[in-house]
Every structure is written in C-alpha cells, then in structure tokens.
C-alpha cells in the first residue's frame, strides 16, 4: 500500500463518526476495591449480603439509640415518619397501615435500605453486624420471630415476609388500556351535573390566601423592598462572616432533626434558638431522654465548652442520649457551628 493511501485511510478512520456499538475507549476499568466500596446493594435472593450476624437482643438497644427517635420505640412512628410495625390485616381497609410486617414483600429490602440510607442523615455509619441486629429486631417488632432469634447471612433467605405473594406485575396494559382507548362522548353526555366533593370543605391548602394577597400587593411590596432597611444591630466583633458561613454549613449535619430561626419548631430534636448559654433539657414541649433530664436536673448548662464536648461525642458525653449522631470530630467545624448557633436568640 502506498504511503498516500495509508494516510488517506488513517484520515478516513479519524473522520468516521462514532457508531453506538463501537467502543470509544473512554473511562478506565474500575478497581475491585472501588466496586466493593460502592456496590453494597442486596437482592431478595441474598446476592450482595455481607458476612455477619446479629440477634434481637443486640438489635434492641441499637434500634432505641439510632431509630426510635423517628420510628418510635415499637416501630409505631413519631409524627409522619414511616411506621415500621403492625398493620397486619389492614391492607383491604380504609387507611391501610403499610409496614414491614404487613406490606413489604422482601426482608432484603430492609437490610439494603438500613445499610444504604439509615440512620437518616448518617448513612453507612452502622457495621454489617449492627444492620443484621437491627433487621432482626424489626422482625421481632413485627411478631415474625422470637426474642432469641439471630439473623445472619446463612439464614437470611429462609425468612419470608407474609405479604410477598400479594404483589403482581403492572397489568394496566391489559386491564385498563382496552377500556380507556375509545372515542368519548362529545355532546349531551349527561342530563345533570352535581358537585359531589369540594376542596374548600376540607380546607387543607397551604398559604393560599397569602399567595393571593401577595399577588394583589405586588406593587406595595416592591416599594417596601426599595425602602431603606433599618440598620442592623452591631454584630459580635469576634465572629467573622466566614466563620458563620462555615457554621451554617456545619449545621447541615444537624438540620434533619434540629430547627433554628424564626418560626422554628421542635422536630425530631428540640429547637435550638437560644441554646448557647441556656440550661440543658428545658425546651418546652420536647420529650427528652431520661439521661438528658437527669443532666438538666443536675444543672447542666450549654456553655460553648459543654456544647463542644457534647457535639464532639454525643454518646460519650451523655450515655443514653436520644441524639442519633456520631459526633463532629473537627474542632474548627464545631467552633463555627457553636458560633452560628449563638446567632439565634430564644425569641
């Protein structure tokens, strides 16, 4: 082959558009350690289960420490967090109670989800044995095993959940589509029309009036926005804006459970407005752990120093606290967080 032809061919190859099925050689092979770090999913047939074991008795304190604050001591749930237990026999009733025991088809789903996403805001903080133990405890809460039960990789797939057989593949194509593929009536389709339900009677729409007023007062608001803002009170000189920004960022670790600022309410954890310098365990309407109540009775005050020690290692500082948080290890991050919290007063 002549040099000219060779060059022409090479050019032709370079200019050939990529065909979908042709490999482009982009990316690199994933290392086994990398796949192991991310591939933690588990299937009903047991594929993906790690080595390990845990029993109901071990699971109970783990559940109380890590899960009960949202899901309740017996899986009955606090507020609108998911209910985990009970509900058997309710699927055909109004307002069915869909729990692990009454609805979920596979136990592997519990293990996978707890391992990948729980505790809420602290994913992958539990050891594999701890996930086995909590899963065993959830089976116990649903009356599916006795209190001496131990769950392990070996016996995992022997456990079947009661509702497994009641799921079936989407059948809309055969059940609904034939009936709904039609030429509908266009004229004189009904003799009379009556209103049978009204949203205004139920009245659960949020901020509806506010939104309407807002629209009406658009112009007025714009004037307010343009008016000079009242001078802000002198900021604490020792705290830089950078530090407060860092504190706000650090607060992300807390905000799933704790609220601050105007209109903040107790959630999974107590509202934190005014917490710095305040006696511990005193937020109205919040149900504290026995351990925290005891400390409050003993006169614990959340000075920056005490808060710092608590946030660094909650369970080391206060054994029995309900705060399901592993601790903020970085000193600067904690200092910034406490400075940020100090900007919220009790009012």
């Amino acid at each position: 082959m002549s040099r000219f032809l060779e060059t022409a061919l090479a050019l032709a190859i370079l200019a050939t558009p990529a065909v979908a099925s042709e490999k482009l050689g982009i990316g690199r092979p994933a290392l086994p350690e990398e796949v192991a770090a991310w591939d933690i999913d588990v299937r009903p047939d047991g594929q993906g289960l790690p080595e390990g074991r845990g029993d109901v008795m071990t699971g109970e304190p783990l559940y109380i420490d890590n899960c009960a604050i949202c899901h309740g001591d017996f899986g009955e749930a606090i507020g609108r967090w998911p209910v985990l237990s009970g509900g058997q026999g309710t699927l055909t009733r109004d307002d069915p109670n869909k729990t692990i025991g009454s609805y979920w088809p596979y136990l592997s789903t519990v293990f996978d989800y707890v391992r990948r996403a729980m505790p809420f805001g602290n994913a992958e903080s539990l050891s594999d044995d701890e996930v086995y133990a909590i899963t065993a405890y959830l089976l116990y809460l649903n009356d599916l095993v006795d209190d001496d039960f131990e769950l392990s990789r070996e016996n995992f797939t022997e456990v079947r959940l009661p509702n497994e057989e009641n799921f079936f593949m989407d059948d809309r194509d055969t059940v609904e589509l034939p009936a709904l593929t039609r030429e509908p009536c266009m004229e004189n389709c009904k003799d009379s029309v009556e209103i049978t339900a009204r949203a205004a009677v139920i009245d659960v729409t949020p901020e509806d009036t506010a939104a309407r007023e807002q629209r009406a007062e658009g112009a007025a608001q714009a004037e307010v926005a343009a008016a000079p803002v009242e001078p802000a009170p002198e900021p604490e000189p020792a705290v830089s804006e950078e530090m407060l920004a860092a504190g706000e960022k650090a607060f992300r670790a807390c905000r799933a459970c704790h609220k601050v600022g105007e209109g903040a309410k107790n959630g999974t954890g107590p509202v934190l407005n005014g917490v710095v310098g305040h006696p511990a365990g005193m937020v109205e309407g919040f149900k504290y752990s026995k351990a925290m109540k005891k400390q409050a009775d003993g006169g614990l005050v959340w000075t920056p120093e005490q808060l710092d020690a608590f946030i660094a290692d909650p369970r080391g500082f206060l054994k029995g606290t309900r705060m399901a948080y592993g601790g903020m290890k970085d000193d600067d991050q904690r200092a910034a967080l406490i400075a940020y919290l100090a900007t919220f007063s009790e009012d």
Binding site: W38, R172, M186, I195, P206
Partner: protein, 430 residues
C-alpha cells in the same frame, strides 16, 4: 347548572383551523362590544399621564445582574411546600407553580423538587460514574470523560408518580400547583445511556440495571435493560445550563415517560444484573395497592393526563364577563398529545381545544380554549387523548379499577368550579 356560557365559533367540534381562529378573532371583538365589557375610561389614566420612575431615571447597568432573576413583581411565582404532607422538609416535596407558567418549558428555578435525603451539593471534580455488575469491563468515568461521548438534546416531562396522589379520596387541595405541580418539562442534554453501557459491554444475562444516587439517601431503582438501551439519557444540562443541585447536579438519569422516582439524581453508579433488586422505592413505596389488598409493582409508565392551569383556584378570572382564555397542559408517557377536549359545563358537552406550540414525544403539550364567559358559574374539565388512542379517564373510572388507596398514578380528570365572581375551586362532579 343552567347555561354556563357560550363557546365562540372558533373552537368547533372538529378542532380549530387557522381560518377559524381568524374568524373567531373578529367574532370575539364583536362579542365583547355586544356584551358591553369594553372598559370606558372614567378619566385620563395616570399610568399614561404621569411620568413613571423607570422613565425618568436610568436603570442598573449590565454588571448589576450577572445571573439574571425574574422581576421583583413576580416574587410570588415560587415553588411551594405542603407542610403536613411529610415529616420534615428534608425528605419532602415542593410543587411547580403551573398556574403562573405558559408554553411547555418549565424554568429551571421553578421545577418541583423531591428529595429523600436533602439536596446533595456535589463537587463535579470529585464526582464519578461507575458501571459495574454483569459487564465485560467495570468502568469509572469522570465528568471530563463523559463530555467526550456523543450527546443528544431531547424534551421530556418528568412527573412524580404521586402527583395528584392526595386527590384519590376526593377534592382536597385548592390549586393546580398542589394537585398537579409535581411535574416539570425540560430540554435535557445528555449521553444516551446505551453508549455508556456498550462501552462497558453488557453481558447476555444482563437484563436489569440499578442506577444509584450519590446523595444521603443513596436512591436506587431497578430498570429493565430494554428501556435503558432504548431512550434513557445520562443528562448533565437542563434547558441549556448545568443541572441545578436540586435536580441532581452534576448528573441525573432521564427515563422518558416513566415515573419521576426512577430518574435518579446525583447519579454515581449503574449496576447491571440478571434480576430486579426490589429496593425500598419499588416495594414499600411506588407500588399501587388495589382495593382487594393486592398491589401492582413496577408501574413505570405515566398515563395520559391534563389539567387546566388558567382559570384555576390560584388563578381566578378577574376580568368579569366577556372574552376569556382557558389555558392548560397535557402529557403522556406513551407518546404525544394530538388532542385535548374541554368542557365548561361539567361534562355535558365537550369541545376540542386548540393545541399550540411544539409537540414532542413524552413531552408536555399546551392547549387553549377561548370562550365568551357570560358570567354564570362554570365547571371546567380537560380530557387528554394520547397518540395511542388512550383517553384520560374520570376519577370515578380510575377508582373502579383501583379503589381509593393506590396513592400513585392518579391521572383522573380534574374539575374546577368557577363561581359568578370568577373564583375557582377544586371540586368533583357526578
């Protein structure tokens, strides 16, 4: 209900032609004169006779708004949350203000949000996409790697399977933002997922994929390989700019026509397997419990659906009787929307709405119905027809199939009651 109002000639039963539209424009003018709704000025309008500040003062320069924002007079046009729906705002949802939007494209800042572990703020330099499982070579891509694959631009709606889920038992929320606002419609730029899977080489026993998010919830869903190869995208742009953090920056999966929960945000891994995984979001959630206690699973496709966005409870008629514009949106996970019917009398008589704007597969469509309101109460409904011939059912038709407890996939026909004052309310009718 007696006579509710008379439709203009423009929207005849066979659909409006351009000539019809022009004719109706004339007819509309005549109707307005006849019913006396043309305003007569009581005196000179100060908006005209007085100088406005934006006329007498110079405005801000080009450096004032390096990333633009809407006018201050549009501050009420925002996503809104329904506080009582969820335990807290981290694992929660807010709603697109459909009543304030026109056309078919949702602005990026108004696209509803649904997170299960809050918004992940990912540094793209530290983001990786891994493909593993039943492939010849498990691969890792950086964002820079992905930019070297051929990319495509496509318009798709994303609807949460729970959109209208609060309405199964009856009319509950007053506003299409709340009843239908778990939807947005965007131009995505992305890499066909097939290219990435081919790069890793899917083995013959690879029948399912498991996309996984890199956020605090580690969202996962099982998707059959046929869908993955057919039209899924790994998207990095929305409406031309980078995905917003709340929409999955820097990468999200696009699963056209299928329920929004499957469009995994903050996409970091795709595993190929021979069986589905039956994870939490496809067992405990996103399965449809029917009246007899059995539940449908893998209900992926979004059925054809429509809603009138104006008038609606958050967007009442404020101009009184005379020419009025009804505006709405329709979509289907099975194709396009060639036709929407509209009624103003609760379903006694229907008229074909005027479809307007571009029509893309599995995208939102816009429809209009111009009518002459005589000031009497209205019962407004819209009914979508998709390109397969499927026609949007009434809520009672759906309940006959599914009961009241299935939460997801409520595509029943919505009714707005408009009173003499033009105020609208969410109702159901016989």
């Amino acid at each position: 209900m007696t006579k509710n109002g008379k439709e203009l000639e423009m929207t005849d039963r066979n659909g409006a032609s351009r000539r019809d539209f022009l004719r109706a424009g004339l007819a509309g003018g005549a109707a307005a004169l006849a019913t006396g709704t043309v305003a007569r000025a009581a005196g000179p309008d100060p908006a005209i006779t007085e100088q406005q500040p934006w006329r007498t003062m110079l405005g801000e320069g080009v450096d004032a708004r390096p990333y633009g924002a809407p006018s201050q007079y549009e501050a009420h046009v925002v996503r809104r949350n329904v506080e009582w729906l969820t335990a807290d705002p981290i694992s929660s949802v807010n709603f697109t203000p459909l009543h304030e939007l026109e056309g078919i494209i949702t602005p990026n800042g108004l696209c509803f949000e649904r997170h299960h572990g809050g918004i992940a703020e990912i540094d793209p330099a530290k983001h990786r996409l891994m493909i593993n499982g039943l492939v010849d070579t498990p691969l890792v891509f950086t964002m820079a790697d992905l930019m070297r694959f051929p990319r495509e631009n496509r318009v798709y709606f994303l609807e949460c399977a729970a959109n209208s889920g609060m309405e199964w038992r009856g009319a509950q929320l007053n506003g299409c933002q709340y009843t239908h606002g778990m939807i947005h419609n965007l131009v995505y730029t992305g890499i066909p997922l097939k290219y990435l899977l081919d790069e890793a080489g899917v083995r013959t026993n690879g029948k399912w994929i498991l996309p996984e998010g890199g956020d605090a919830a580690g969202m996962t869903r099982s998707i059959p390989i046929e869908k993955a190869m057919e039209d899924c995208l790994v998207a990095f742009k929305m409406n031309g700019e980078a995905l917003r953090p709340e929409q999955g920056y820097p990468l999200r999966l696009v699963v056209p026509g299928w329920e929004g929960n499957m469009w995994v945000k903050w996409l970091r891994r795709i595993e190929v397997g021979d069986e589905p995984w039956h994870h939490r979001e496809e067992t405990s959630k996103y399965t449809d419990l029917l009246a007899g206690g059995k539940a449908r699973r893998f209900t992926w496709v979004m059925d054809a659906k429509s809603v009138i966005t104006n008038p609606s409870p958050q967007a009442p008629i404020t101009h009184g009787r005379g020419p009025a514009v009804l505006s709405g949106v329709a979509w289907s996970g099975r194709g396009t929307i060639p036709r929407v019917d509209v009624t103003i009398d609760g379903g006694k008589n229907w008229y074909q709405a005027r479809m307007d704007g571009p029509s893309f597969d599995k995208s939102m469509h816009r429809f209009y119905f111009e009518f002459d309101w005589d000031g009497s109460p209205l019962l407004l409904q819209s009914r979508a027809h998709d390109s397969t011939g499927y026609v949007q059912p009434t809520k009672d038709e759906l309940r006959a199939f599914r009961g009241y407890e299935s939460i997801y996939h409520n595509n029943g026909i919505q009714t707005w009651y408009v009173n003499e004052k033009g105020e609208a309310e969410n109702v159901e009718v016989s």
